[in-house]
Amino acid sequence: VTLVVMLLIAGAGAGATAYALRLGGRIAQAAAIGGTLALLLVALLAVAGAGPATQVAGNDPSVPPGSAWGGTLVPGSYLQLVVCLMAGMAVLLTGMAWLLGGIPELVGILPAMLAAVAGTTVALSASHPIIAALGATGTGLVAIPIIFADQRSGRTFPALREFRASLITGSVVAVAAVVAELVMRIVFADPTAAGAQAGSPPAAAVGLGALGLGLVVAARAGAVPFHLRLARLADVIPPIGLPLAAAWIPLPLTVAALLVTDSLLAPLALPVDAERGALVVLALVGLGGAALAAFIADDLRHAIAYLVAADSAIALVAIAALDPGTSGPTRAWLVVILVSKTGLGAWSAAVEDRFATRAMPDLRGWARRAPILGLALVVIGLATFGLPGWISFDIRDSLPHTAVVEPWSTLLMVASFLTLPTYVRLVLLGIGEPAAHVHRAAPEQFRHQFTAGAQMAARGIARLGHTALTRSGQAGKAVAARVGSRGDPDRVAAPGHANEPGADTTGSTSDTPQGMGNDVIASRAVPSVALAEAEPAGGPGPMRARSVASAANLARAAIGPGMAGLRAAAERGRQVVPSAKEVRRGRTELLSTAVLVLALLGAVLAFGGLDLAHAAGESGAGGSSGLETN
């Protein structure tokens, strides 16, 4: 049920925000808030309820627990982790997009992120590779609303390229899955026949299938030689859309391709060395070519896109391996890429916004003006390469050796570190003498902003607490006064009694709105007095009436100051919480802080935090095929 609710929230949220954000005005504001809340809700649901052990499916024993639609979609730890990370990062990116360009900046990115979460949920929970591939297809299409958020000319060809890439890559994975299943039938039916020989039709089919999967994964990730699409895409989308386009979209397709490889192709163990060799060459070209392109690029967005593409090419090594043992590390690697490259894309967007340029020569000295962003880039680099013992480092070291023989494994391992010079170049660029663009930009005033923000928050909390305590005290005193005057409501109701010692119900502090407490008490008490005076004296009826009136007075006396206190607290909150304009005035520091948070999250995952290894290594939902493997 949780899985279905997650899909409904993300899918309906995507549609509703896509429509409402274009309307502008208050509707767009409400859509932005609603979309962000939807993302938060999806993240909470992913954490709380989508686990395999938390729900029980129907009575059918063949249906895995927690699954939806008769076992078509099965939740798992990997799905939980990825969707939770995606939704959480989407909230941060939404905030960054708002800081960068206000509500108009959210028009494409917010619905696209919601749709990407929905598509990824389908792809990662699908028990059948075909459905996983189609979920990846849908995820790929989310680049189109980002492109068309700004409808200037020159955007249709990139949009059509995205459309083509999404549909064809998904279709190829789906067909590869079913062809692999067919070959599996033939081989397992007669393993002694031609199936075991190199060059036989089954071996050729498996080899071509693996090669096709590798090609579509490379094409989807924008690895060299398919990099032109990614570079053109990076040119036309808003900078904050780059993480989504470069890092999020390839993930579900890669997971679907790994699902086919591990569950259908690898068990056949057919001799397909030529195709595996071609895949290794493709991986080397992807790693080396993209690293070189990133290093020589003078356009920051292009460099970032190539950096993401280079790291994505490591997944090709896992496909070349045709070994289910590489599946877990590769899925962990994909999560590390997802988070660290989201941080890198966000860093790029913040830098571009900050210095009003994306030309690398104009960014000389950027780190001097933006030390937080400098720290964030170092942390992103750390998350990308890791240290010995970290997941990101170990995968770069061990995956090639698991997948292929020497000297190819060493070559691949070395090639996987070829992006390091680009990070060094960016850092060195940052500490150089500031260029004109950088010189014009205002320096980060994190310390000042932080101090001012902390002071404001502390002052606000103190005043809110003081107000709440004062009102609580008044409420308590009022109740005591009611209890003390039970049977004599006139005592409380008389104006003079309200100020007597022991029955003080006034707001005596300077922070309290003038006369609020006293007025409230008096106004609440008057009707009961009138009721009491209207009753004839003596007899059980009047006594009941007096009791009821007294109880009502008590309740009102207790609730009244509380409500007044809440109103006063709300008013204090309104005064203390900065307005949108005030928040955006400090957007430079806020953007840098958001990037730093993303970078730290990437480092935590690269270290192996959040139980990444366990989640990636599970053989449950999204990690096992629903097809029989005999």
Binding site: L134, G138, Q151, R185, A189, R232, R584
Partner: protein, 238 residues
Amino acid sequence: VTALLVVLAIAVAAGGVVAMAAPNPRHAALGASWAALAAAFVGDPLPDPAALTARVAGAALAGWLLWMALRDAPRATDRSALGLSGNAAVAMVALVAGWFAALALASQLAAAGPDGASSTAAAALAAGSPIAAAALGTSFALVVLAAYPVLAPRDGLRMGLGTMLLMVAAELAIAAIGGGDDGTAIAFGVSLACAGAALASIAAVLLRQPAGLALRDPHGHELVAHRATNNLRRTDLP
């Protein structure tokens, strides 16, 4: 029923021919929508009625969105180099080739023994079902028809419709081999609806441009030059 479904498979290929060759963009969209719609019924066995309804609804929604997006389209665009008859001939040859490929695959399955042929996945094909053979043949035809407009596009709409036809071809291939089920049918329906919506939005933007649906001139040059965004959009910064 079998003969009817075989004729339907051939009609799907005919829809593909119209999509790639009809000069009128709305006719082309109609052809592709028909191919996507009718392909849902080319399978042995057919999916569950509920799944089939979802699949048909997805294709119909895609077709309706495309039809609406193209209401201001010009009556005629550049003709396909092969023309209607040339495309039809190519499709026919590919369909026959695919049919023979299906027969060859069936014999391979039969030769593999009872285990290879008895599985659900390949049962219809191994049994020599003409529906499975027609589905594979139509899949071949759609791939051949769509290959050129997708790989070397001159017209944005044909490129998009060709891509959708490739997706339909994938579905037909899966149906021929028997790898699909109810969940697959629903997933294809949803995917087609999403693809139709995406292509409709692209077509609407294309029609607002001076070059219309055309992407390249006869010499292969892009009509709308690639242009990067400005560095920043400082709209309402304090």
